[in-house]
């Protein structure tokens, strides 16, 4: 193993050691500190994490800003509306699309309506965007005026983006055709797409989503497996409140229980 010149890493166990590490010299440790602060939802770190969205010290050879991305994710975990202006500013960083994606997802987690107009602007921009996160967030924030711009994405070259558009349109209209698009992907040959579809359905899990799966023309064992995937996506998700998570998982458990006696 190669020796590194990294400073002796003190394990981060407290808020003060995390904040100290964030302003330290070791970029790996700074990155870990940002994650730690988000993981433990340290609200008092909100302003410091907002400053880290402008960090210049940690850059990859490709021009990415790893610390900024991690700070954005941490701010999403904090769900603190005070971070919204700084995250909106981070959206403007056109050099790092993954930073933009992380900022968009953080804005979705915070759920603040101030994000609507800047996100619509991105959707209408002519340059490449992190469309999956963008469309999902417009759905989460219920920005329904974007419908005409989002409909064409049902035919986008990326299946992930297609699913995001289907999710948006389902949340807006409640029409089964859109949820079926997601249900179809539950049996996609690509494992990542299957998992992502389960995650999407978990996020919008409703009585209707469960019914669409139960009524799908697939073998019973596949229905059980799909409901299981969605249940586990719901359990892993940190987008919901404890009560909402509980309600969704109980709904899925009831559906699985009932399928057990079907052939």
């Amino acid at each position: 193993m190669a020796m590194t010149t990294a400073s002796p890493a003190e394990p981060i166990l407290t808020v003060s050691s995390a904040l100290a590490a964030l302003s330290g010299e070791d970029n790996q440790l700074r990155y870990y500190a940002a994650w730690w602060l988000g993981k433990h939802q340290v609200q008092s770190a909100c302003a410091t994490l907002c400053l880290a969205l402008k960090d210049e010290r940690y850059r990859t050879a490709q021009g990415g800003y790893p610390l900024r991305r991690q700070a954005a994710r941490a701010l999403g975990a904090l769900k603190n509306p005070q971070a919204v202006p700084a995250l909106l500013e981070a959206l403007e960083c056109g050099e790092d699309l993954r930073l933009r994606e992380a900022a968009i997802q953080a804005l979705a987690a915070i759920g603040d309506a101030r994000a609507a107009t800047p996100l619509l602007d991105l959707l209408q921009s002519t340059t490449e965007q992190p469309y999956e996160a963008l469309i999902e967030t417009l759905g989460t924030l219920k920005v329904w005026s974007a419908r005409p711009q989002i409909e064409p994405f049902l035919h986008h070259s990326s299946e992930r983006v297609q699913c995001a558009a289907a999710r948006y349109l389902y949340l807006l209209t409640g029409e089964p055709q859109y949820i079926e698009r997601l249900v179809n992907n539950l049996s996609h040959e690509n494992m990542y797409l299957r998992w992502a579809a389960a995650f999407d359905l978990g996020a919008i899990c409703s009585v209707q989503a469960v019914r669409a799966i139960i009524e799908a023309k697939v073998p019973n064992s596949l229905k059980l497996l799909n409901l299981k995937r969605i249940l586990e996506a719901v359990l892993d998700s940190d987008m919901d409140s404890v009560a909402a998570k509980q309600e969704k998982s109980q709904e899925l458990i009831r559906a699985i229980d009932n399928l057990l006696i079907q052939l």
Partner: protein, 199 residues
């Protein structure tokens, strides 16, 4: 009697699934043992709506349908027919079906029965034991379900065992669920055990 014969005859010659379902329903109303045999025959119909109606009818005709179903299971050569019989007996929950369902659940980690049929049989043991007054039957069902919960490879079978143990709800069943909570690795089965213990 003649009326029954002609209904059975119409069921056999039914040209559409919906006429077959209608004949099944009038057979159920007649409520005779011979109707049971005709309904068991209808379990082999190729259109899934017909066996589904026959299963519902045979459940309604219980307990008269239990012995003919058990006999038909042993005589059957077709796994599809056996699967419908297991489904019917599982829903009825008559203790006379205990041995048959216990064999289907199995004694080995993997057996020749399909996963969905084993799951249904495990649910049937729960129904039997939750209705039964015979402490011996209840104890045997709990032991069989405990075996499935702690040994089966199929998460669906373990999950079915959890639901059945919850349904039985004796101190022995609850203790087994508590024990399984510490060893169960599957997230879905684990959350189902927690739900059972909270309920």
């Amino acid at each position: 009697m003649q009326k029954l014969d002609s209904t059975i005859d119409r069921l056999r010659r039914a040209s559409t699934p919906s006429t077959a379902v209608t004949e099944i329903q009038s057979l159920v109303k007649s409520g005779t043992p011979r109707a049971c045999l005709a309904l068991i025959e209808a379990l082999s119909h190729h259109h899934p709506a017909v066996p589904a109606a026959a299963v519902a009818g045979l459940v309604q005709l219980a307990p008269d349908s239990v012995e003919p179903l058990i006999a038909a299971f042993h005589a059957a050569k077709d796994q599809g027919l056996q699967a419908y019989i297991v489904q019917t007996l599982a829903q009825i929950g008559d203790p006379r079906a205990y041995d048959l369902l216990a064999v289907v659940v199995g004694v080995e980690v993997a057996n020749h029965c399909q996963g969905n049929v084993r799951r249904i049989a495990a649910r049937g043991l729960g129904t039997i034991a939750s209705i039964a007054s015979d402490a011996e039957i209840i104890h045997r069902a709990v032991e069989k379900l405990a075996w499935a919960l702690l040994n089966a490879e199929d998460w669906g079978l373990r999950y079915a065992a959890v639901v059945s143990l919850q349904e039985i709800g004796t101190p022995e069943a609850i203790a087994l669920l508590q024990q399984a909570l510490t060893t169960e690795q599957d997230k879905t089965v684990q959350v189902r055990i927690k739900t059972a213990l909270d309920g």
